[in-house]
Point group: C2
């Protein structure tokens, strides 16, 4: 594999503290970070066999990690907004019940293009027809930790619980040797999955050493439902089933009490914070400052585009840093540093891939992005971290690389055919639009 040598610009490795080397170099060899350091013009040698990338006016950093999404829901972007959760789900399901494997593949391709273009190198994806989604992630060059959504009732892809477990076993076998695309167990939630389903999913996760990703306490109503049924709130109910451990990725975790937070910290639960979705769907404010103070690993996700409505992790960082300050009336909570960690090192921990990625340490995978700092909205610079969280948007990302391979160079996505995917999505939308009352006609 070829080598790439980045030089002459700020380098943020996220290896340890959020320290930026003001003028640095970083070498990629065999898909891995081979070294980095301070670049001194005239002294630092650029290896002859390397592709040299001058970072002047740009910043090099680890690519971002989207810890909770439903990628294929790009086909439902803006399909329904500003409705109470149950009405909104009703609108969305009008299309979802007609989903096909091809739609999921194409929707996920669009999501991958959008994520690559906004600096995301890995995602944890929960949806249906997930084999097709995994195929799209594979071809995109991104990393992904994926799972077929599991429910007590039939999903649009699978007719019953037995078929769901059979599919998980099939996918586990099919994807077991993939370096980037991995399987996880993804039972939907405690209010849609019986204790039996959840326990069995936990056993499969244990058997294969996989993560266990589920929605936890997203809304107050969910907590009431689960308490009514099982006498405990969702996290305590999962604990009762023996499922609260380091494998547990809990999406949302908005309505937690202090016991939940203590338990999450003690058992090493990964909290997947989705601030934009929590605002848009009126779910509420997750106790992020308390979770961080308790030492919980908080990662960051966009959720699906039907409740966001984009996959830009830079905007998501901006939300994560700001809304808790407003809600708690304390400008010191969820600092820019805290939030940048959520989107990088903590994301990798949450997905169970932190030995491989999440920071640019020597020997780790070269999963990185180059952000263009020459735009007027990023001038002047007193503090790169502040800009990354509060000023940059996804469109400022110039290059994206995973395992040393360019996924995007100079804003051009190299792994998927952007024009064709957009054209395919527009064809799908013609079908989906039949279920949308007030849609534009194009």
């Amino acid at each position: 594999m070829s080598s790439t040598f980045f030089y002459n610009g700020p380098v943020l490795t996220m290896d340890g503290e959020c320290k930026v080397i003001d003028c640095g170099w970083l070498e990629v060899e065999g898909g891995k970070v081979a070294g980095f350091g301070e670049y001194i013009q005239g002294q630092t040698q650029i290896p002859a066999a390397s592709e040299g990338v001058d970072l002047e006016g740009n910043l090099l950093m680890p690519g971002l990690i989207n810890a909770h999404t439903h990628a294929a829901m790009t086909i439902l972007r803006g399909f329904s907004d500003d409705l109470p959760l149950m009405d909104w789900l009703g609108e969305i399901f009008k299309v979802e019940k007609n989903l096909t494997s091809d739609w999921v593949r194409t929707g996920t391709e669009l999501a991958c293009i959008e994520m690559i273009k906004s600096g995301t190198i890995a995602a944890s994806d929960m949806y249906i027809f997930e084999d097709a989604a995994m195929d799209a992630f594979d071809r995109s060059g991104m990393r992904a930790v994926c799972g077929e959504g599991m429910f007590d009732f039939p999903s649009p892809s699978l007719s019953d619980v037995e078929s769901m477990f059979a599919e998980v076993e099939r996918l586990a076998e099919k994807w077991k040797n993939h370096s980037r695309v991995k399987l996880a167990l993804m039972p939907h939630a405690t209010y849609t999955c019986s204790p039996d389903l959840l326990i069995r999913a936990g056993e499969v996760a244990e058997k294969y050493g996989m993560m266990f990703h589920t929605h936890i306490s997203e809304t107050e109503n969910e907590v009431h439902m689960v308490k009514d049924k099982y006498g405990k709130n969702p996290l305590m109910h999962l604990d009762n089933l023996g499922l609260v451990n380091e494998r547990l990725m809990g999406a949302h975790m908005v309505w937690l009490d202090d016991n939940d937070i203590a338990l999450a910290a003690q058992k090493g639960v990964k909290m997947l914070h989705c601030p934009e979705s929590n605002m848009k769907l009126a779910s509420g404010f997750a106790p992020v400052a308390k979770l961080l103070a308790a030492g919980v690993c908080v990662a960051l996700g966009t959720d699906g585009t039907a409740s966001n409505n984009n996959l830009d992790m830079f905007t998501e960082m901006d939300y994560a840093a700001k809304i808790h300050k407003g809600y708690m009336l304390d400008a010191t909570v969820t600092s820019d540093r805290d939030v940048l960690k959520m989107a990088t090192v903590n994301g990798a921990k949450a997905l169970g891939i932190d030995k491989i990625t999440g920071s640019l340490a020597v020997g780790k995978s070269a999963d990185l992005i180059v952000v263009d700092f020459s735009a007027p909205h990023l001038v002047p610079v007193y503090d790169y971290i502040s800009h990354l969280v509060y000023s940059v948007s996804g469109s400022d990302v110039k290059h994206t690389m995973v395992e040393g391979k360019w996924l995007m160079k100079g804003r051009k996505v190299l792994t998927l055919d952007e024009k064709k995917v957009i054209s395919d999505i527009n064809e799908i939308a013609k079908e989906a639009r039949k279920f949308h009352k007030n849609s534009v006609s194009n």
Copy 2:
């Protein structure tokens, strides 16, 4: 003046309801909107003398209006973050006390470039050395309603209250015939301006028919201070002074009670909502849903870049639409339609320029933007308004036009020299950096 004919794409006029003509045309002549309608290929005539602009893949709409900013604070972008308000102000003031007219001019130029590039055609700007800011707005081609900040104490530009009023009179004379750049009275706030200063500013506003723009109830602490001093909260105190009327532009208005809201509605106060700043500075949640329900004209602003940290009104719309849903646990409040009005027609009303701009009605100024809808994060389209609020970012704006003149075409700003301004700002930042402890060295 030449004429421009836009055709063959969606046209959103904001004239009346938020209706999009799916495939429309709009003609600009003599700087004004000459007409618009449905475009039918082969039937609609493109005037021979016009510059034709094919809208395929794009959307034409009114430019956005930033109703509250401190434009020159771009020089302090990211200078200080994540601190309690008073500590933050202390850091910011280390630089502000050294401000010069040239710094304000250059800082405002950068702000104008950023605003033009993110689709903003008008701003209401409160700062010091405002003559220099007005000069920058003038040369940028944008609209602006500007004011010199007034205080009981010396400002970095003026030594006392008499000098401040003398400066206002001078500026009123100097700018009285400008079609785009207008003066307003801008006493800072009820906690920094005596009743005498406020009353006198009100008289000057009345004399010249100008708007009266001030900060109102931004923080809980401010309300306590004003109540302690005057026995009334800020809005009631202003009402007591005879200053609550249709000229009043109230920035922030976070800590209002029901009587304030009723008074604001009854007297035609313009509320300038700054959601990102309110979150970042931990000020709190303005009662926007209640204000809208009461019929108050709510406009939208970014505040300065030191508390945001950018001037992107598209992201600001996203915040305004989402955070109140999360805070009120009600997904139906602050709809995408409500918010788009805040950033267009309501902005124009708030600035007192709604007879001229804010929507694309025949005879109004051709103050418009073209948004590129071909990017992957804007596909597919079921509802253009949803995308404008929840998915578009400022970098999707392709062209910006004011009074029929191109300020930006194909992402290139035509009125100011982007490279030179960025270079000048970087020189200023070298000076400002002396007051910043942990800054990068470049």
